[in-house]
Symmetry: D2
Subunit: 397 residues, 4 copies
Amino acid sequence: MDGAQLPDLAQRFETVRQRSLALAATLSDEDCGAQSMPDASPVKWHLAHTSWFFETFVLERSEDDFAPFHPAFRILFNSYYNGIGERHPRAQRGLLTRPAMHEVRAYRANVDARVARLLAQRPCDAALAALVALGIEHEQQHQELMLTDVLHLLAQNPLLPACFAGLPALAPDVAAMGWIACDGGVASIGHQGEGFCFDNELPRHRVFVEPFELASRLVTNAQYLTFINAGGYRDPSLWLAEGWDAITRLQLAQPLYWRQEQAGRWREFTLHGEQPLVPDAPVTHLSLFEAAACAQFMGARLPTEAEWELGARSEARGDLLQLFGQCWQWTSSSYAPYPGYACAPGALGEYNGKFMLNQYVLRGSSRATPAGHARPSYRNFFPASARWQFSGVRLAR
Amino acid sequence: MDGAQLPDLAQRFETVRQRSLALAATLSDEDCGAQSMPDASPVKWHLAHTSWFFETFVLERSEDDFAPFHPAFRILFNSYYNGIGERHPRAQRGLLTRPAMHEVRAYRANVDARVARLLAQRPCDAALAALVALGIEHEQQHQELMLTDVLHLLAQNPLLPACFAGLPALAPDVAAMGWIACDGGVASIGHQGEGFCFDNELPRHRVFVEPFELASRLVTNAQYLTFINAGGYRDPSLWLAEGWDAITRLQLAQPLYWRQEQAGRWREFTLHGEQPLVPDAPVTHLSLFEAAACAQFMGARLPTEAEWELGARSEARGDLLQLFGQCWQWTSSSYAPYPGYACAPGALGEYNGKFMLNQYVLRGSSRATPAGHARPSYRNFFPASARWQFSGVRLAR
Amino acid sequence: MDGAQLPDLAQRFETVRQRSLALAATLSDEDCGAQSMPDASPVKWHLAHTSWFFETFVLERSEDDFAPFHPAFRILFNSYYNGIGERHPRAQRGLLTRPAMHEVRAYRANVDARVARLLAQRPCDAALAALVALGIEHEQQHQELMLTDVLHLLAQNPLLPACFAGLPALAPDVAAMGWIACDGGVASIGHQGEGFCFDNELPRHRVFVEPFELASRLVTNAQYLTFINAGGYRDPSLWLAEGWDAITRLQLAQPLYWRQEQAGRWREFTLHGEQPLVPDAPVTHLSLFEAAACAQFMGARLPTEAEWELGARSEARGDLLQLFGQCWQWTSSSYAPYPGYACAPGALGEYNGKFMLNQYVLRGSSRATPAGHARPSYRNFFPASARWQFSGVRLAR
Amino acid sequence: MDGAQLPDLAQRFETVRQRSLALAATLSDEDCGAQSMPDASPVKWHLAHTSWFFETFVLERSEDDFAPFHPAFRILFNSYYNGIGERHPRAQRGLLTRPAMHEVRAYRANVDARVARLLAQRPCDAALAALVALGIEHEQQHQELMLTDVLHLLAQNPLLPACFAGLPALAPDVAAMGWIACDGGVASIGHQGEGFCFDNELPRHRVFVEPFELASRLVTNAQYLTFINAGGYRDPSLWLAEGWDAITRLQLAQPLYWRQEQAGRWREFTLHGEQPLVPDAPVTHLSLFEAAACAQFMGARLPTEAEWELGARSEARGDLLQLFGQCWQWTSSSYAPYPGYACAPGALGEYNGKFMLNQYVLRGSSRATPAGHARPSYRNFFPASARWQFSGVRLAR
């Protein structure tokens, strides 16, 4: 977690902080306050929690005369840091109609000004810079969650309101899927170089892999429809046991935001409202169960995270389309510490390490990921049942 | 359900409709949109549902060129009328961030204007008048629910925000509790006379009661504290079996909004924020379980609804303080149809009849009840476990 | 709760105690040990609990040198008496594979011998006699529960095993249903005379009823089929709100033990295995929800418990067939204390009083009720959703 | 899955099948029929299911005139094979009081005779031999489960009955724990050689590991007590997030079967009843959460499954005590397919592959594992929360 150069850092801090507000600009205060499920948080809560992060891990450690913006916010906007103290129950974040959005905006402005002042006062403080850099990356993670969470909220509304008016430019045509061969042997994965990374990307270490192939692009909606139409959701032999239980119990038969308007005519709810399904776009909002079943149906499998990373760094990486910026790509790797992994001391050690169980790694990035946030060694992770993220499939074999 | 005289009705309609908006005037849009539990509804939903009621049962039946304000609102704001059609799941009312409050206000204005026009056009239409009168009483019921529900919502917030700034005038001193004797024999209960009543207050019918006594006033906070301090919440012999299970499972040891700040110093969360407990005020926010256990502890019992009504109509009624305007008073009577009760035909028949099971009758009215809404024959009803209403205890023996 | 004459009592004690064992004679130890749901108990548990009842309320109070048969049984076989002390969790009664059936039989034999000795030693002890008489009636209640509970258990088994081999004699033909008129006015209900009754049948007291009519016999399977075939389970206007929620959530479309073998051919699981549905037999194993919906469909209603009892005591009682010995008959009356009702002091006061909430009264008796156990004032009670009892419908209007 | 030599196989079949019955010899029919939780099965069900396995995968495939012993058993005793057809709900296995134990014994005898006949008739049928060998190993897995499941059942009984009378010989003294160094580099794991293995042990493949150390013996009860007494269950920094949630929600503060009789005096419920805790014995019945927290507390970690297997095959293996026969040893490896893993075709492919998600690998074997069943490449697996297995901890660093 190396700090960036400080002048850049102050600029980057301001840019990223403003982008969070910009994401909420077209949402009403009510949109920002509601919580659609315990896994998702209100936009307002994200805006406050990211400020809490800077207040707790930057201001409190660095300001001589530190005083919290509001004592109750220390608890209300702590996500999961036992090392910091108590916290508000996660499932009740949507009941916090106070503080109001304008108070959260004031909280943000206060934290912004104080962090900016610190950065100006201590241009050579590498520890400070490292913490601010971490806070910036943390804020970017929450920017993506703001989008996934508000999309889930609006999807519960029968009016199917759009988060953002207007449609994005159509995705370019995608070539037919091919297989790109990658070498086996002992190779290294994990972050290298000077730039920022999270602690879970370290230490860089050696692994042994057999030769493998990765698909040249992501599985498309059209390909996934073939899986559906062939009865994929009714054939237990394609599914992991826990996945079969889940789709049977919840009566699932398509990706999260799909709706069959009439026989064969599908629509998908997006940040721009409900739209006709785009056949060539990558299928999105799949659980790991669905991703693995579809791969099984297509005679392939999911890559391990080592395969994905080695492919993304290989000479063939130019042939691997849609590595970033479309959908996070489920891997078959459970989220586990790298050999020699060590948590940071104190509460920041809770950032990643304690979640390394019963979650699976996704690689790449999605169209909701802030520009510049991801990299080949980046490890995203969610439970296998999660569907509300922008998650898709790249096949391996 | 007789109609009132029409000129009065139009004026009353306007007054009552405006009061609903006035109740929400100090709340933010977020406060109005959130839902703290499935039993409670957002204020915004109440504002929309009461308009839906007029639209569905007045405008649709009377306007020649009826068109709904918004087709989707027919489903979104239907509470429980199967006869009308589908409805939005109750537990998800808090996720309806759209329509926004300003849209709900526009909905209300539209309905108001159309109802007013109808009333002006048909001054002699008794059926129309009866439906508008029903809608007015329905709106008043929801005015009380707006207060009970937003109080519950704000009580979940660690900031303990006040719904209304400022404190109400202190309650006057209350005389010592005495016992007022009432005659037994065959007597009639149920609504009589020309004024409005709900169908569940009819038909007026004869009952036989033994001679009984009612307490001259409600049980106070100080009396309830005696029950608590004597170990009332730890003695199963005082409790109904289902009540004992509930307080054990939920670890209850005081009324819903009480908090013991330090030994012996209690505070109560109210619409005006958290306040020191007022010893002489009626204890409020009790379940029937708590009401019955406290009565048992005090060597008394709860009245039946017939006893309550007969007392409230007896010559001794002048000696019975706090019959109205403080707390709803739990009775031991399950909510059941009166002999000869008949539902209205059609969807309006769902107003009351289908709920006559596993609920218990409360009589009187509370400080949250709109002026003029209650009467001696009025039957309020809730499940025995409900605590978020303004519910208290009048003893009988 | 008057005691019977003692020589009769000793004989009656022995007869009733032996009958409990006789009911279990064709069941395996495994059949006797399993528990199909928290509401039902294993047969072995019933056999032990009824012995616990005599041990706790007769032996412990009367033996000079009382020592429990087994200290742990005091807790294991206490059903719900907080006044006695701790108890084993109800839902885990089926996990008590020890004590084994032979140990429970030894427990029964020990208690039997000690009670017999006491009765022989104290022929004039009225208090002792009253407690033994209560224990006998208690045992008879559990004899019926042994049958309802083991029927429910065996119904979960795809092999559909019969509790008892052989078929009962066919029910006699039943005349067409007629309406029997009963007078209104002030009349008395509740137990009268010298014989045994439970405390909930007292005090005898006056009620006022309007003139009413009772159906001359119970609703038959054939009549209930008409209700089903007319879409009764799909028409919300026939149902109480809580009933409609239940049948929708649980996807109910017929009585508990019915199965449609093929279109129009129904079978019913009984104590004698699965049998073709007998059209003229009373429909059984209905919830109050189903009973009330069927009554509504047939243009009638359920009787109140006062109406039922007054009918069963009226001069017209000879015209009322099937009052006893076929099915318990749901009434619309919630289970509540009679005016002036007083619990017994101590733990025996928990027998009835604490359950007087959210349960509904059934009158009559069923084919599983021991001969001589019921009477016109007898009040059985279960939650409105209960279906595993032998519960049916007598109409009123 | 190579077959053994046939004469040996027939003998081994008979020996293993008889041992299953021997394990149940001291249990009552009731003990054998009850089910203490959905994760555990009744002993009777295990006895029947293992017979179902031979009937389905051996007899049905090989007998010319195959007819099932009982048609309903095909469904009742199918565990989870969708490829075979329907199955009885897992959580209701304890309600199958029929077939009785004597019928299950008859089922076993019938299957035994028919398998023995087939083996005698086809001495050179390698496919048959492979299936019988698989069935034998499958039966041995269920022998361990019979013990873990009946131990859990008896532990629910306040009488704390012993599954087996008499105490096992005391465990020998164990030397102080040391650290055994193992080499890093590229090495192969997975089954090798001619003997039987499950498909999940294949294919043998190369992995890269860093140099590591394994503890010379398992963590003892005394060591675990140090963790408890130091407040290990109250310090969130030692726990994975999901583990901390679990121990907080379930209020766990010691291993599954431990009970603190009085301050500092602990007892443990075992197959031989409740016994004083043996300080030097390996701590058993831990979840992965507890195993990992204890390792963290001791400044170490759990081994990966590759490290465990390489250690157990290394030249230092002689220094590694208690590899087998005491407790299964949690690893930090999620249960995943080896590179190139392929399920068997058809229903047998469901044996292992579909469970490779959200489970963690345990290595070694326990004192409940049949002799000769385990080997260095053996992969046992359970969810991280499972505590009712004989699971313990070997540290790594």
